[in-house]
């Protein structure tokens, strides 16, 4: 339900807050934050739900966001325990990485289905600005997710 609401907020409220031609990917930030705190398994479930919510509201191919968020969740859930000890670094290091991965994988999925994807412009005008904006926004989102996450933690994901 949280992810569904986040997708709707991303489509309505956050549409008015466009920076450098891109919007904050709130659903991705929630997925990444939750994956860091809860591990890969729960992150994948969130990625599935969040991806479906985004794809329902988007004209893009259904499933592209699911794949993109899935890769981001695996990345965040794997690296999260390693960086968790230095919490200040966490949003600054993981977020741009997961944002770039999610965007590129979703764009690859679109290209595989025949959607036109001008790669240089996509990277320069969408992927990188999106990563920068998501990184800034994660400084706000991650503490909120931490506050909301009050259940006992699952066992650490060991390398």
């Amino acid at each position: 339900m949280v992810l569904l609401l986040a997708a709707i907020i991303q489509s309505t409220v956050l549409a008015h807050l466009v920076v450098a031609g891109v919007k904050v990917d709130l659903v991705l930030l929630l997925i990444v934050a939750w994956s860091v705190r809860r591990g890969v398994e729960e992150g994948i479930v969130w990625a599935l739900i969040g991806g479906v919510a985004i794809d329902l509201l988007s004209v893009g191919p259904f499933g592209a966001s699911v794949i993109g968020f899935g890769f981001a969740a695996v990345l965040a859930g794997s690296l999260g325990p390693v960086l968790k000890q230095v919490s200040v670094l966490l949003p600054l290091v993981l977020t741009p990485l997961t944002s770039v991965v999610a965007s590129l994988v979703a764009a690859l999925a679109m290209a595989a289905l025949g959607w036109p994807v001008p790669w240089p412009a996509t990277v320069a005008l969408v992927v990188l600005p999106s990563a920068a904006l998501d990184t800034l926004s994660m400084v706000v989102v991650y503490p909120l997710v931490s506050l909301a996450d009050r259940r006992p933690h699952a066992p650490d994901w060991s390398v």
């Binding site: 569904l4 997708a7 709707i8 907020i9 991303q10 489509s11 309505t12 409220v13 549409a15 008015h16 807050l17 466009v18 031609g21 891109v22 919007k23 990917d25 659903v27 890969v40 994948i44 990625a47 599935l48 985004i54 329902l56 509201l57 988007s58 004209v59 893009g60 191919p61 259904f62 499933g63 592209a64 966001s65 699911v66 794949i67 899935g70 890769f71 695996v74 794997s78 965007s103 979703a106 764009a107 999925a109 679109m110 595989a112 289905l113 959607w115 036109p116 994807v117 001008p118 412009a121 996509t122 320069a124 005008l125 969408v126 999106s130 390398v159």
Partner: protein, 270 residues
Amino acid sequence: MLTRLVYLVVILVAGALILALSRLPQVQFIETIAFEVLGPVEVGVSIPAGRLDQIGQTIEGIGQLRAENARLRAEVDRLSQEAVLLPELQRENAELRAELQFQQTDPQFKWITARVIGVDPSNLVHSIIVDHGSRSGIVVGMTVTTPGGLVGQVVQVTPNTAKVLLVTDVSSSVASLIQSNRAKGVVNGSRGGQLTMTYIPQGVKVQAGDRVVTSGLGGVYPKGLWVGTITEVHQNDVELYQEAKVQPAVDFGRIEDVLVIVNHLPTSLH
């Protein structure tokens, strides 16, 4: 490490399966039903979201209001109400005048006015969601415009909502012509929300400021809708065609209401 690889493979396979199944009519039907459920929620959230722009405009007027403060004190209660109502009345007035002018310019069009209740949450595609659907007579393929210019095309419809692919999306192509010299070309969306006109014949004089309108070729969009204005021309004698950058006629960042033309369908759908 192996487990992580397994997870990645699972995601790839699951995602590929979803992408493949998404083309089945049965799955698209389920997707339509689910999107129809989200529609009313989008409408509810979009109302406060739209107020953000109005707050910005109100702040700009504070400087002028201060100069008239003494006079306004005596009528503060009445003017407080008018300050809320007036921008809406002015906006509605301007929109109605624009629609009337649009009707007089193109009397053959019949349209439905629809409100924009959301935009595409993905940064990779450009689309909007409007609050009218098949119940209002909207079908896939209909042209969406404003009195100010072309917006895009309806690509998905539920009973109460519709998704519109904007002309600025990279997958959008509009058969167009330059109004001054009737040179034909194709306007494509590009990253960054701009438009590019390609296949402009060599030898035709094209300059910044030239207006671009739909040509009607291909039967997708009706003829004569304003697409944008040329801002930059790339001409090279060794190339077959010229290319130009086009500033969209519509400010997609501020669009609130659109007109869905209901008496024109792409010829491929007839």
